[in-house]
């Protein structure tokens, strides 16, 4: 059975998700990769971050290919989540996002952070960027545009297919 959920996530909605569930996610999500995580951390630490409300937001670890003329976005699958692990507990504390989308396993501190905030880690299918691009109906660079593919994009998605990899109780299906 496929569960349908939308952003921003509420704590109740997150609690209803269990590791192993297949989910279709709709609404606004934000991309961020290594460089964006580093920059966000620096901005928050120096007290100069403003502009985007990440409360209940979902962060997607993705650096898409450029959009062809007339297209919303190019290929847009997930990148390896582990590279973001070092930044996540601090940013979850400070920015209040509840969901993350990526691929591969997470560190113990990230799992603890998910439990603490009643968050969730979704896995998208790595190597399915063409399929996922069809689920993205709007895309706009909103932060760090100079980073190109690594900029923060605000995406509007419709029925983005995901798997709950780590649920709010810390149950983890990654091997």
């Amino acid at each position: 059975m496929i569960k349908k959920i939308s952003t921003p996530l509420s704590v109740e909605a997150v609690k209803s998700l269990k590791a192993g569930d297949i989910v279709h996610l709709s609404g606004v999500i934000y991309t961020a990769r290594d460089a964006a995580h580093k920059k966000l951390t620096e901005l928050v630490q120096s007290g100069s971050f403003a502009g985007i409300d990440f409360a209940g937001a979902v962060i997607y670890y993705c650096g898409p290919t450029p959009a062809k003329p007339g297209k919303v976005i190019g290929s847009a699958g997930p990148t390896t989540s582990g590279r973001m692990d070092a930044y996540v507990p601090y940013l979850m504390d400070k920015l209040g996002f509840l969901g993350m989308i990526g691929k591969g396993k997470r560190s113990q501190p990230v799992i603890e952070s998910i439990k603490k905030h009643t968050g969730v880690y979704f896995a998208a299918v790595g190597g399915a960027g063409a399929l996922i691009s069809k689920k993205i109906i709007k895309a706009e660079a909103v932060l760090f545009e100079e980073l190109g593919a690594e900029a923060v994009y605000k995406l509007e998605v419709l029925d983005f297919p995901l798997i709950v990899a780590i649920d709010s109780e810390g149950n983890d299906i990654c091997r």
């Binding site: 192993g20 297949i22 993705c62 650096g63 898409p64 290919t65 450029p66 959009a67 062809k68 297209k71 190019g74 290929s75 847009a76 699958g77 990148t79 390896t80 582990g82 691929k103 591969g104 396993k105 896995a123 299918v125 790595g126 190597g127 399915a128 960027g129 063409a130 399929l131 996922i132 691009s133 069809k134 190109g148 593919a149 297919p161 798997i163 990899a165 299906i173 990654c174 091997r175």
Partner: protein, 281 residues
């Protein structure tokens, strides 16, 4: 001598960059369908079904299979009766990559400096080129766009010869287990055994060039390939690392003579979107 124009190579490389990023290597589609049959859980089946759908969309709409369109890796066989007119072969390949990646809306993933600047070169150059001279008047160019996720989980070990076959097997299986879902399984695995430090890594990459389903002509290495593939699939890592029967679609071993004191082993992993295309000029 047969003359080939610099510009002809450039334009062949440019279109190779595009086609290799939207279509799978021969045999992978069949692997998807076999995996769909073999997998038992709804999750594993749904992942493989998404891969099948992805590959259709990529091919029909000419949108890259994956947003990581890789570092551009080339294996070239240059016939000794060929003269290239108008420039160097390596420059022609680099120019073709630059045009292919910028005009083709592929992602540039190459950085100028690994440690300090890490600045994007913006056109996915420089390519990585391995050239071998062969007899004849043909130029054969094989291109594999190699993504970071799978390349990062690859490993090399200079083993003690006393480790023997068991040591090799343990190292390969441990490398796959450690990789988990990161290299986007089901993977294709290239194993290099022998040569020296750099030669062994190259053997592993060359093993990835082999046809899906092919076996090493040496019966001992053929048996080793079959045993390793079975053990890798018995790890249960499965599609995307969420458990299942298909962890690898195939595994190839290449070997070469080595120093009497050495047993080098390298494992190069590629993801389920195994991309590889060849042009002959």
């Amino acid at each position: 001598m047969r003359e080939i124009n610099f510009d002809e190579i450039v334009s062949k490389i440019e279109s190779l960059c595009l086609s290799a990023n939207v279509s799978l290597a021969d045999g992978i589609t069949d692997c998807y369908h076999k995996a769909l049959e073999a997998e038992e859980t709804a999750m594993a089946k749904s992942i493989i079904a998404d891969c099948i759908e992805n590959q259709k969309i990529a091919f029909e709409e000419k949108v890259p299979l994956c947003q990581d369109t890789g570092l551009a890796v080339f294996f070239i066989k240059l016939g000794d009766e060929i003269k290239i007119k108008g420039g160097l072969l390596s420059d022609a390949v680099a120019k073709g990559v630059s045009l292919g990646y910028t005009k083709g809306f592929l992602r540039a993933s190459s950085l100028d400096d690994p440690l300090y600047d890490r600045k994007n070169t913006r056109d996915n150059t420089p390519p990585i080129i391995h050239t071998e001279t062969v007899s004849g008047d043909k130029l054969e160019i094989t291109f594999i766009p190699k993504g970071g996720g799978a390349e990062n989980m690859s490993a090399l070990k200079m083993m003690s010869p006393s480790a023997g076959e068991k040591g090799v097997i343990d190292f390969v299986v441990d490398t796959v287990k450690n990789a988990g879902g990161n290299p986007c399984p089901p993977v294709v695995i290239g194993v290099g055994i022998g040569s020296n430090f750099e030669g062994c890594a190259l053997l592993a990459k060359k093993a990835l060039l082999r046809e899906i389903g092919s076996r090493n002509p040496d019966p001992r290495y053929k048996a080793l390939e079959e045993k390793l593939l079975m053990l890798v699939n018995e790890t249960g890592i499965g599609p995307q690392g969420f458990g299942g029967k298909t962890t690898a679609f195939d595994l190839h071993v290449e070997y070469a003579p080595c120093h009497l004191a050495s047993l080098p082993v390298a494992v190069n992993i590629n993801c389920h979107i195994h991309r590889k295309q060849t042009v002959i000029i």
